[in-house]
Structure formats: structure tokens, C-alpha cells
């Protein structure tokens, strides 16, 4: 069965790039534009992996990760966040919030696919 991935990012071009990379690797991708949309999407359907940006309008990635982890249904769902090298403090915060792993921006499609394979195991 195809793994389904939810990507949450406020940058349309980045979402597009992620979608192209992941669908190319055979994953099914759903997109959301910010934390609020991401949370709604995660509640509406079960995803095998959630990839989220941290800096977003309305609800940032951190808050969304905390909200997701409060929900028993999301226990164990891998959550990858996108961060920049310089944001080490942010990385720690996101991990404390319950994120599984991260991907340092900028990244090439291969890295994204590699990380997805790593946490999905397929």
C-alpha cells in the first residue's frame, strides 16, 4: 500500500517541490498551508508521515506538533520538521514538542526521500 504523507508549509513553491519529489518516489501527498490546516487534515485522515515547516502563519509548526501529540490517534506517527541550520534552539524545541526528526533546509529531493524512507521504513 502506498504510504500517505501530509506536508504542511506556507510556501507554495516548497510544497510543490516536496509534492513532486514525494509523488515521484511513489508516495501519496496531501498538502496544507499552515498549522491550522495541517491539524484539520491530520484529524480528517490518517497519515503515515507528516512533514511540516516550523515558521508558518496562523499556527506554527511547534504548536501543531504539540497539538498532534496530544491526540492518542497520532501516537507514533512520524513527524518530520523542516528547519534551517542556524535554528539549533528551534530543533531542540521541536523535538521536545514530539517531532520524530528533521530535515535541514535547503534540501535536495533525494534527501527528502531518504528521510521519508528512513522513518517510514519503506
Amino acid at each position: 500500500m502506498t504510504a500517505s504523507i501530509l506536508t504542511v508549509d506556507d510556501s507554495p513553491s516548497l510544497r510543490m517541490a516536496i509534492r513532486i519529489a514525494l509523488t515521484g518516489a511513489g508516495y501519496a501527498v496531501t498538502e496544507a498551508g499552515d498549522g491550522v490546516e495541517g491539524l484539520a487534515a491530520a484529524n480528517a485522515a490518517k497519515f503515515d508521515l507528516i512533514i511540516t515547516d516550523l515558521n508558518m502563519p496562523n499556527m506554527d509548526g511547534l504548536t501543531m506538533i504539540r497539538e498532534l501529540r496530544k491526540d492518542p490517534a497520532q501516537c507514533g506517527t512520524p513527524i518530520i520538521f523542516l528547519t534551517t541550520e542556524s535554528d539549533d534552539a528551534m530543533k531542540q524545541q521541536a523535538k521536545a514538542a514530539g517531532a520524530t526528526g528533521w530535515l535541514v533546509k535547503p534540501f535536495v529531493p533525494e534527501q527528502l526521500i531518504k528521510v521519508s524512507r528512513k522513518v517510514l521504513g519503506r
Binding site: I79, Q92, G101
Partner: protein, 654 residues
């Protein structure tokens, strides 16, 4: 989704990033030790490099990489931020823009030149030794790991980690269950098992670290090599070639391609919500209407009327909301000029402060884009002609640094933008001499001060004694005036000798909808933009007959030429007994338009003419009337010019 082309989306975003970088650099130029600014610029470069690589802009990614490396040294305190560095990165930023917009062909030399300057700017940083770890081939590793208890709930699966280790090489795994709590204390989602692993093969330490990368910080992990420890050696990584040719100094302000990212607008979400609300209401009213259409006729007239009123309200609200969606704050426009002023100050050797006011004022996106070029001209004029050199200023008793002040505010349906400098003001004598030399006025002709100033808007007029790099090529003010008028705006200039000049631009808030005066000529209906209408007077039959041949009326002791639209449009109808003259004006010039009937004011949604009709100059567009008919919108600027020609012909005839 805005569009399906990631490259186009990247270009838009890259444009924004470059803008951010530029702003950061300009601020940094003033506050060299501001860490936040250094970080901000670094982040911008970093993101640009990364996204560039992601979207296949390899030349951009490579080039940006060098700038990022240089900036990283500043960020880490290894090199100081200097004016030279800021200047080099600014020109590098222009180069990046070129790389974003094009395919990077033929730009390598420019890039190399900039990199050489960059190299010089971070002085002697070439060949900085960077310690690198060279790995000796390992026999294998012995490791023990235990995940933090919450790891599984947070999405890490220990079984997958073990699978990854197995993929690295020959693997012997033994589970340690000693830390598992008794059943009563056991939390099902917590993992307390640890694993001893013996890995054999040519595996680097990095490969193992990669497996545990996400859990590394909190987990228990012991790794022992089954082979000797890797040795440390030193290699040098030159940042860029040092023997590159001397930099070709491009003029950054003029060499910069115009922004092409005009096709998308960023809209705050709450404005979209507002629009959605209106659309929702419209749907409700629509369902009421269809219910009425299918239902019984009892009392339907009242209901229909209330629905009609409802729709009218919604339509006007939708229109207002929609217009607001197209609005962007002028801050983005003003922001671009900081770089311009910075470059101008450098090139002219003047000290120039740019002050901006009312940046939150919003203007239609299209209007704003078309305003950029004329404003560049005006600001150049202020900096180049208006402001004096520091010595001259001090001699005149003014502060050494000149000031250019940009301000914007909304006034009714218009946005007023002023560009003010505190320079020497416009030299009337020189304007007069030039106008006489060009034959625009007779020698000794008496002109009002304002009329004299208007001379600078004539084509081919430039008072710059010396043609500098920046301005004074004789194109400029007339183009500025034409552009502003094509936006249905007006330009006005004031100048006090020794105190400076002020140019005021008045621009309508939007181009999409105007207030118009609906008139009838023969059988056709036409719209005249209301903002241009000065007054309406009656043309009596006698006056009409008397003025045959010379179409002028005397309006408050001034001759105003008029055009008979009925004849111009060759309607072939008889004139109405009570014809009207609508007097329209642009700037100081007026012309009357003879129409058969004035119908009234009309909210006009402008539709542009098709490509086929692009050559038709008398009309600016078309609109659809309430009854479904089409009315053409008259082009005021064109008609006034036409009328003025008529006046000149008459004057020439004596």
C-alpha cells in the same frame, strides 16, 4: 494552488528573498555590528542557495554558496563585517538576480569578478585551514544503544533502526531487557529495551551516526571501533580563485532587469475570508431567488425587490473587497529606492538621507508596478540635480547631508505620493534659457512661474549641464508625465530656489473601476472618466452655428477648443437641439467635448480592448452597461492632445 510551474513560483520567491537580502545589507551598511542583520542576510543567502539547488539553478546555487561562505565567517566572528563586504555582496546580489531571471549563460565572467572582489573583501581569507577528519578504513564497530522512553510515541521505530544497521553490513544484534519495568508499571508506548550490536565491515562512523541522527541527542549510545582511531589532518579550502580579472563595475541600478513577478499577489488570509463570507451570502440570496422563481406568485414582487436590494448590496461589497485584495502597501515600492539612493550617493559623492513616510498606504498592484520607473527618474533627478555636494551645502548654510523625502497618503479616491528634496531647487534661468534654445517659448516671453516649471515636462528637455552617468540624457520628465497620465494620475511640481523641490504625484487608487460620466453621441453611449471632467455647459444652437469652422468657446475669458464627437465618430445623425459641452482637463490643458446628451454618472468597470483594437487611440477601454449594452471609454489624454493641436493650428493660422 497558485500555479503548477515550480520554476515560476521559485522565481517569485527568489525575488522576495533577494529583496530581503538587499534590505538587510543596506541596514547592515549603517549598523555594521548588528548580529541580527548578519544572521538575517545569512539566512536569506542560505535559503536562496538551497532553493536554487532544489529547482535546478545550479549556477545560482554555486555562486550564492561562495557568498554564503563569506558571510558565514562574519556570522561566526571570524571576519568583520565591512563596508567593502556589504558593497560586494550587494553587487553579488544583483548578479544573483540575473542568474534567477536567466539561465546564467555568459555571466560567468561577471560572477568570477565579483567573487574575486569578495575574496579581497574578506581579506586574506584564502586558504584558511579547515580541520577535516580523514577516516581510516574501519574493521567494524561495537555499539550499544537504548532509545529515550518517549521515542516510540514520537514516531521513532527501533525496529527500523535495527534494519538500517543491518543494511550497513554484517550484524549481530542482542537485546538487553534488564531495564524493563515490572508489568504493573509498564507503559505500552514506552520502549525500555536496549540493544548490543556488533557491526562488521568497512563502515564509517558517519554512517552509524546517520542511522541515529534523529534520536542521537537524548539516547544512550556507546560506540567502540574495532579498528584504530581515525587520524586528523589539515587541508585548505580556497574560497575562490585569487587571480581572477579585475571586477567589471556594472551600474547596478540600471543593469537590473525589471521585476517580472507581476502575475501573483500575496493576500492576507483574513481578506480572503471576508471575500468568502460575501460569496457565501451571494449563494444564499441566489437560492432565495431560485425558490422565488419556482414558487407561487403571492407577494413575490416584494420578495423580488428585497432580493434585488440584497444583491445590489452584495455586489458593491464584493467589489470593495475585491479591490482591497489587489492593494499592496507602498512600502515595497519605497523599499526598492533605498538601494537606488545608496548607489546614487556613492556615485555622486553626496551624502543623502532617504526618509520615507506613510509606507502603509495601499495602492493597486498594477499601479504600483507602473509607478516604479517614473519614481526612479524623479528620485534620480532629486539626487543628481537637486541636491548639492556637501561643500556647497555647508557654504549655503545647510546641513552637509541632503535629504530626499518620500511620502504617501490617501486622499479620497487617490493616492498622493510626494518626492521632496532639500536641494538647490530648479534653476529658473536655466530652464528659460533651455526652453528658448529649444524654441518652446519666445525670447522674453512672460510666463507664470508655474508655466515655466511645466517646461521641464516637454520632450527632449533636460537642464543637466553635464550629462552624468545617472541622469540627463534628455529622456525623463516627459516620459514620467506620460506614464503618470496613462495611470490617469497627475503630476505637479513645486520648487523654491535654494530650498528644494517637491514633485507630487496623484494616482487613482485602482485602475479597474472608475467613476464615469455616461454620455450619448448619436446612437452610441460613451463614458468619460469623471475625474477629468471639469464642468458641463450647454451649447446652444446659435452658438453651434456661429462657431462653425473654428471650434472654440470662450470660457471665463479663456479660449477652449472643442471637438464635436458626433463628427469625429461619424455618427451620421442630426445634432440634438440641446447639445452639451463636457469640459475635460489634464493638468492645465482643457478641451471641450460636444455630446448630444449627458445621461449621468456611472460606476464603470474597465475592460481593456482586444489586441485587434490596440491601435485605436481615442478610446481607453470599454465597459458593459446595466442593460447589457457596451459603452466605449474615452481616452482623456488623447482627446486633450487632439484639442490642443487644433488650437495650435488656429494660432498658426493667426
Amino acid at each position: 494552488m497558485i500555479g503548477q510551474d515550480p520554476i515560476a513560483a521559485f522565481r517569485v520567491e527568489a525575488g522576495e528573498l533577494l529583496e530581503q537580502i538587499e534590505q538587510g545589507l543596506l541596514d547592515l551598511g549603517h549598523r555594521l555590528d548588528d548580529r541580527d542583520l548578519v544572521d538575517a542576510v545569512f539566512r536569506g543567502l542560505h535559503t536562496l542557495k538551497g532553493s536554487g539547488a532544489m529547482f535546478g539553478f545550479d549556477a545560482l546555487a554555486n555562486f550564492t554558496h561562495h557568498c554564503e561562505t563569506a558571510f558565514d565567517r562574519v556570522r561566526k566572528g571570524l571576519a568583520p563585517a565591512t563596508q567593502e563586504l556589504v558593497a560586494v555582496i550587494l553587487s553579488a546580489q544583483d548578479h544573483m538576480r540575473a542568474l534567477v531571471d536567466g539561465d546564467g549563460k555568459g555571466l560567468e565572467a561577471t560572477g568570477d569578478a565579483i567573487l574575486a572582489r569578495l575574496q579581497a573583501a574578506i581579506d586574506g581569507a584564502a586558504g584558511t585551514p579547515v580541520a577535516a577528519v580523514a577516516e581510516a578504513p574501519a574493521q567494524g564497530w561495537r555499539l550499544f544503544f537504548r532509545l529515550p522512553p518517549e521515542a516510540m510515541a514520537n514516531g521513532s521505530n527501533p525496529l527500523m533502526l535495527l534494519d538500517e544497521l543491518r543494511e550497513l553490513g554484517e550484524c549481530k544484534i542482542v537485546a538487553r531487557t534488564d531495564a524493563i519495568p515490572p508489568l504493573t508499571d509498564l507503559v505500552p508506548v514506552e520502549c525500555h529495551i536496549g540493544w548490543d550490536v556488533e557491526l562488521r565491515g568497512d563502515i564509517s562512523r558517519d554512517d552509524i551516526d546517520d542511522v541515529f541522527i534523529f534520536v542521537m541527542d537524548d539516547m544512550e549510545l556507546k560506540i567502540e571501533a574495532l579498528a584504530p582511531e581515525p587520524a586528523v589532518e589539515t587541508v585548505s579550502l580556497p574560497v575562490a580563485a585569487n587571480d581572477a580579472p579585475p571586477p567589471a563595475e556594472a551600474n547596478p541600478a540600471s543593469g537590473r532587469p525589471a521585476a517580472k513577478a507581476g502575475e501573483s499577489v500575496r493576500v492576507p488570509a483574513e481578506r480572503l475570508d471576508e471575500l468568502m463570507d460575501r460569496v457565501g451570502e451571494l449563494v444564499i440570496v441566489q437560492s432565495r431567488l431560485s425558490q422565488l422563481a419556482h414558487g407561487s406568485a403571492v407577494g413575490s414582487e416584494m420578495a423580488l425587490r428585497s432580493i434585488s436590494e440584497e444583491i445590489e448590496r452584495l455586489a458593491s461589497e464584493l467589489r470593495d473587497t475585491m479591490m482591497v485584495l489587489r492593494m499592496v502597501p507602498v512600502a515595497t515600492l519605497f523599499g526598492r529606492f533605498r538601494r537606488l539612493v545608496h548607489d546614487l550617493a556613492r556615485d555622486t559623492g553626496k551624502t543623502i538621507d532617504l526618509v520615507t513616510e506613510g509606507e502603509a498606504t495601499e495602492v493597486d498592484k498594477t499601479v504600483m508596478e507602473r509607478l516604479a520607473d517614473p519614481m526612479v527618474h524623479l528620485i534620480r533627478n532629486s539626487c543628481d540635480h537637486g541636491l548639492e555636494t556637501p561643500e556647497e551645502r555647508i557654504a549655503a548654510g545647510k546641513p552637509a547631508s541632503g535629504q530626499v523625502r518620500l511620502s504617501a497618503h490617501q486622499q479620497g479616491g487617490e493616492v498622493v505620493i510626494t518626492i521632496r528634496d532639500d536641494g538647490r531647487g530648479i534653476d529658473r534661468e536655466r530652464v528659460r534659457a533651455k526652453a528658448e534654445a529649444q524654441g518652446l517659448i519666445q525670447p522674453g516671453q512672460v510666463l507664470a512661474d508655474q508655466e515655466l516649471l511645466q517646461m521641464i515636462f516637454h520632450p527632449g528637455f533636460s537642464t543637466a549641464a553635464a550629462v552624468t552617468n545617472l541622469s540627463g540624457r534628455g529622456v525623463g520628465m516627459d516620459v514620467v508625465k506620460r506614464t503618470i497620465e496613462s495611470l490617469r494620475g497627475a503630476i505637479d511640481i513645486k520648487s523654491a530656489p535654494g530650498e528644494g523641490s517637491t514633485v507630487t504625484l496623484r494616482i487613482p487608487l485602482t485602475l479597474a473601476i472608475i467613476d464615469g460620466l455616461l454620455v450619448r453621441v448619436g446612437e452610441g453611449r460613451y463614458v468619460i472618466p469623471l475625474a477629468a471632467v471639469e464642468e458641463c455647459i450647454e451649447l446652444s444652437l446659435e452658438d453651434d452655428l456661429r462657431s462653425r469652422g473654428r471650434s472654440f468657446i470662450t470660457l471665463r475669458e479663456r479660449l477652449v477648443p472643442f471637438l464635436r464627437l458626433r463628427e469625429m465618430f461619424e455618427t451620421g445623425t442630426r445634432p440634438d437641439p440641446h447639445q452639451k459641452i463636457v469640459v475635460i482637463a489634464t493638468g492645465a490643458e482643457r478641451v471641450g467635448l460636444v455630446v448630444d446628451q449627458i445621461i449621468g454618472s456611472h460606476q464603470t468597470v474597465i475592460k481593456s480592448m482586444s489586441a485587434l483594437h490596440r491601435d485605436v487611440t481615442t478610446f481607453a477601454g470599454a465597459t458593459i452597461l446595466g442593460d447589457g449594452g457596451v459603452a466605449l471609454i474615452l481616452d482623456v489624454v488623447q482627446l486633450v492632445t487632439l484639442g490642443q493641436h487644433q488650437e495650435e493650428r488656429l494660432r498658426a493660422a493667426g
